[in-house]
């Protein structure tokens, strides 16, 4: 028998190509004589456009054309509001090219198409735009006050949405509370910064009237639907391919960024391939951002530390537009009680327009915000009540016996009720205590002090609703010639290793090597039912769909092979790429089984010749293909989760602070996490490592610096500090596997997990480290050296 592939640390199928430099990212795909687009972008955060003059740009040698809102016909629209919600009062989305007003620095005003990017950028500089600048307010808290300059005239107090959710009876709980802890926390604006910026190329075939679009998107099927609808084409005439994609982290789930409509339009109008490869500055000032929230969170507790109520009111910066609806704020709102029982919850948010790049989900999508608010509040409550930080958590965890644990009244981003499905929270906490060697912490602190440093322990627990629906599909086919298995699903990969984990799932059912399972996704011509890659959902939703499909194909294969070898189906087993009669050396290769199930077979290979030596694959009288029978060994099935499945984990760190340099060094970082059954622990670890590194960026370094005028001052990698290897510590990952009861594979998502807790861990560690100096509280990330210096100055240290 073959060994089980599910759970094995298997190297990735995709790697050799990527390692040899043979990956095919959008800008690597050869196109015949492509034209290149460049954009004219607003230098003002808010302004009225008096006039646009494109004459000089149009005349520039090598320029094909210049587009403004005046000559893009049907595209001169407000782009789709993807996820409407009743809480949104005055929803606004941007136009592909500005008409009348601009709303942030970087907004597209005109698009130049030219023979190459150099010339396109020259010509873009020749477009004359006369702006009348308007007042702006970049500060989130000031933007909601009366009299603040408005981003959109019809949205008073810049309010984009206002939403309240509650569970239980929070007023009663607070009235009866023996103690109330209240803190304010803030998370600043950041960006996903995938190393491949966004990219798009399009070809229009005038003969077949087909549009082919290569887009580094996380959502090609949805993108195709939108493109077909807006460009007024049949969906089958639009093919969207997401080839190799250089990281996404949510930024590439957003559609449409203006180029995603304008480039296909230009290809159609000009009859030439057109491409737009975003540069790094454009990624900073044009592509979606995330993170700024300010929470006022209160915990009502008994003296024992039992938290009986939670109230949280927060502001969420949505930027100049709200195309993705309230997703980020809603996820934060619904995740706010974390891993704790807390029966009474009231949570409110206001989504606020600011004249800055639009906010749509970035890895974590509200979960890091909720975790930061809740975990910092739990630390504060522990201190208020004189309890240990571990103990306060232990006393409030949902215990194993209490699952499934519903939070009546709270709705998650999928519109479904929150029900935490499984977990071993107490065990996870005990494990991290051991891993961090907390019993020897005081000695370690003293040692650090003797070297002039201050050591602190940081701790944060998180939960993550993963595997959101509504559904995904899987298509599996055993190829008659090679016996290899082709698998399709409606996702895309930006490095998550789908091609390997899905191969492992199929390999177990069909008895083939994972290397012989070829997963094709991200191409609407290959498969076009499904949703997209986001919300830590690929393994859960597509994984289970593919698993179900593989079982169907397994049954078909066994039946056909049993007929061929004239035995009972129960006597067939699949392994080593063949169907075997149990306990014998009689077998038929899968290629031959697949060949035999096709009534038309030319004997042009060994599989076909082999197939002729056996009895027919199908036993019936009448025509070769019986009524209701299909040729080949293939199948399609779907999986639709009942609701999100909740992963969780706890992170801890030992952090050393140099009080003279205000420098923070993470000495040890440990992560205990539980994403249910793991398909490939090596890939899971990679996802967790990467998430933690992104979390460290957000905890210590990465902040978009908007000047009061609305100009983004650090729109480059020199000033926006993405960590290098020199900033990321060694990370110890310890797995805990509690299967999800919600799906056949028992899996939960892990893509976003790593980044969620890091801000809270680092802030809690620095706070503890600097306690001897009286530095006070750290409730704001990224936690920069200047914040530490200010805290030490205040303390007079």
């Amino acid at each position: 028998m073959s060994t089980r592939q599910f759970g094995a640390r298997i190297e990735r199928n995709i790697d050799p190509k990527l390692l040899r430099g043979e990956g095919a990212f959008v800008d690597d795909i050869p196109l015949p004589q492509p034209l290149h687009a460049a954009f004219v972008r607003s230098p003002f955060a808010r302004a009225r456009i008096r006039s646009i003059n494109i004459t000089a740009a149009e005349r520039h040698p090598g320029v094909a054309t210049v587009y403004t809102c005046e000559n893009i016909a049907d595209l001169d629209i407000e782009m789709p509001l993807l996820i409407p919600h009743p809480s949104m009062k005055h929803p606004h989305t941007q136009r592909p090219l500005a008409r009348g007003d601009v709303y942030y620095v970087g907004q597209c005003v005109a698009m130049v198409v030219a023979v190459n990017r150099y010339v396109a950028e020259d010509a873009a500089a020749l477009v004359e735009v006369d702006y009348e600048p308007l007042d702006v307010e970049m500060d989130l808290e000031k933007a909601v006050r009366d009299g603040a300059p408005l981003v959109h005239a019809d949205a008073p107090n810049n309010l984009a949405a206002h939403f309240v959710q509650f569970s239980g009876n929070p007023d009663d709980a607070f009235a009866k509370a023996e103690h109330v802890t209240r803190i304010r926390v803030q998370i600043d604006r950041s960006t996903a910064a995938p190393l491949e910026c966004r990219a798009i190329a399009a070809i229009w075939d005038a003969v077949s009237e087909e549009l082919t679009v290569w887009d580094g998107t996380q959502a090609p099927i949805s993108l195709r639907g939108g493109l077909a609808s807006i460009l007024k084409l049949d969906e089958d005439k639009v093919r969207v391919i997401a080839p190799n994609v250089g990281g996404g982290f949510g930024q590439k789930i957003m559609m449409f960024h203006p180029d995603e409509l304008l480039v296909p339009m230009a290809a159609m109008k000009l009859g030439r391939p057109v491409k737009y490869i975003e540069d790094r500055r454009e990624n900073f000032i044009g592509s979606s951002q995330e993170r700024t929230q300010i929470h006022y969170i209160e915990l009502a507790a008994k003296k024992t530390g039992e938290v009986v109520g939670l109230r949280d009111s927060f502001l969420h910066d949505t930027g100049a537009f709200i195309p993705y609806g309230i997703a980020v704020a809603q996820v934060a709102s619904t995740s706010i009680a974390g891993a704790y029982r807390i029966p009474n919850i009231w949570v409110e948010f206001k989504a606020v327009y600011t004249p800055a790049v639009q906010v749509t989900p970035y890895r974590g999508c509200g979960r890091p915000h909720a975790c930061f608010a809740l975990e910092r509040a739990m630390d504060q409550l522990a201190e208020d009540l004189g309890l240990d930080r571990f103990e306060i958590r232990r006393r409030n965890f949902i215990s194993e016996k209490e699952f499934p644990y519903p939070r009546e009244g709270l709705l998650f981003a999928d519109g479904l009720k929150v029900t935490l499905d499984s977990g071993q929270y107490h065990k996870a906490l005990d494990m991290i205590g051991k891993a961090l060697d907390v019993t020897n912490l005081e000695a370690a602190k003293e040692k650090a002090r003797s070297e002039g440093k201050y050591l602190g322990l940081g701790l944060a627990f998180y939960v993550e609703g993963t595997g959101l629906g509504p559904y995904e599909g899987g298509h599996v086919r055993i190829h008659p010639i090679t016996g290899k298995v082709y698998v399709n699903t409606g996702l895309t990969s930006q490095g998550q290793g789908h091609d390997t984990v899905f191969a492992q799932i199929v390999a177990d059912q069909l008895g083939v090597k994972p290397q012989d399972v070829i997963v094709v996704e991200g191409d609407t011509k290959a498969y076009d039912w499904g949703v997209a890659t986001f919300a830590s959902r690929a393994a859960v939703v597509s994984g289970n769909a593919i698993h179900k499909t593989a079982m169907v194909v397994r049954e078909k294969t066994i039946k056909a092979a049993a007929n061929m070898m004239e035995v009972d189906g129960a006597d067939i087993e699949l392994h080593d790429g063949a169907a075997w009669v149990k306990g014998s050396n009689r077998f038929v290769p899968l290629a031959a089984v697949a060949t035999a199930t096709n009534p038309l077979r030319y004997a042009f290979n060994e599989a076909a010749q082999a197939a002729t030596q056996f009895a027919p694959a199908s036993r019936h009288d009448g025509p070769p293909l019986a009524e209701g029978q299909a040729p080949g060994l293939e199948g399609t099935d779907y999986y639709s989760p009942p609701h999100a499945t909740w992963a969780y984990g706890v992170h801890g760190a030992l952090v050393e602070v140099d009080a003279d340099l205000c420098a923070v060094k993470i000495q040890k970082y440990v992560c205990i996490h539980d994403c249910g059954n793991m398909i490939n622990p090596m890939i899971v670890e990679g996802q967790v490592h990467g998430g933690i590194a992104q979390g460290v960026g957000g905890a210590l370094y990465e902040r978009l610096e908007y000047e009061p005028s609305g100009n983004l001052a650090n729109a480059n990698f020199v000033d926006f500090l993405v960590p290098y290897a020199t900033e990321i510590p060694n990370i110890e990952v310890i797995h805990l596997e509690t299967p999800s009861p919600l799906n056949p594979l028992g899996v939960k998502g892990v893509g976003e997990a790593g980044c969620i807790a890091v801000g809270a861990v680092v802030a809690s560690a620095v706070e503890e480290a600097l306690k001897p100096l009286g530095a006070g509280k750290f409730h704001h990330v990224p936690l920069t050296p200047s914040m530490i210096q200010a805290a030490l100055d205040r303390a007079g240290a």
Partner: protein
Amino acid sequence: MTRSNLQRHVGQTSDDPTLKVSLTVNGEHVERVVSIRMLLSDFLRHELGLTGTHVGCEHGICGCCTVLIDGKSARSCLTLAAQAQGAEVTTIEALAEEDGGLHAIQQAFKECHALQCGFCTPGMIMNIFGRFNEPQPLDLSDEGIRTMLSGNLCRCTGYVNIINAVRRAAQLAGRA
């Protein structure tokens, strides 16, 4: 949408001044007439079709575009094609065997799961390859490897597995 029936005339070239550059790329002599301002990264990718060299920031920070120029790692996005006149340039495409067999560094990256999206990987590997080609002993301590990697950003892996891969590569290449 209106689509003009008249095919629009679009020129094939700009009026940029050009010059002839001749250099050696992956052991082959090449000669091309290119715009004087063409970046080496664009030259490799779009003139020669060597798209394994990636461009992540175009301002010399991310390291995705790292190639070897006369044996030393260099940012091809900060180099003009014209500056590479007479130089010997090595790109990621030169590392594997002709039959596709992986170089020790590539093999180590695969074994250690040191890549995810793979966009930074060619630049990362070329930087390491450059160091491996230097005669001085390699500092394979955590700190030494981190310093070796400190010119290359990776957004996916958190670097942990890349550090492991460098150590493994040194073993495979007999440099440990």
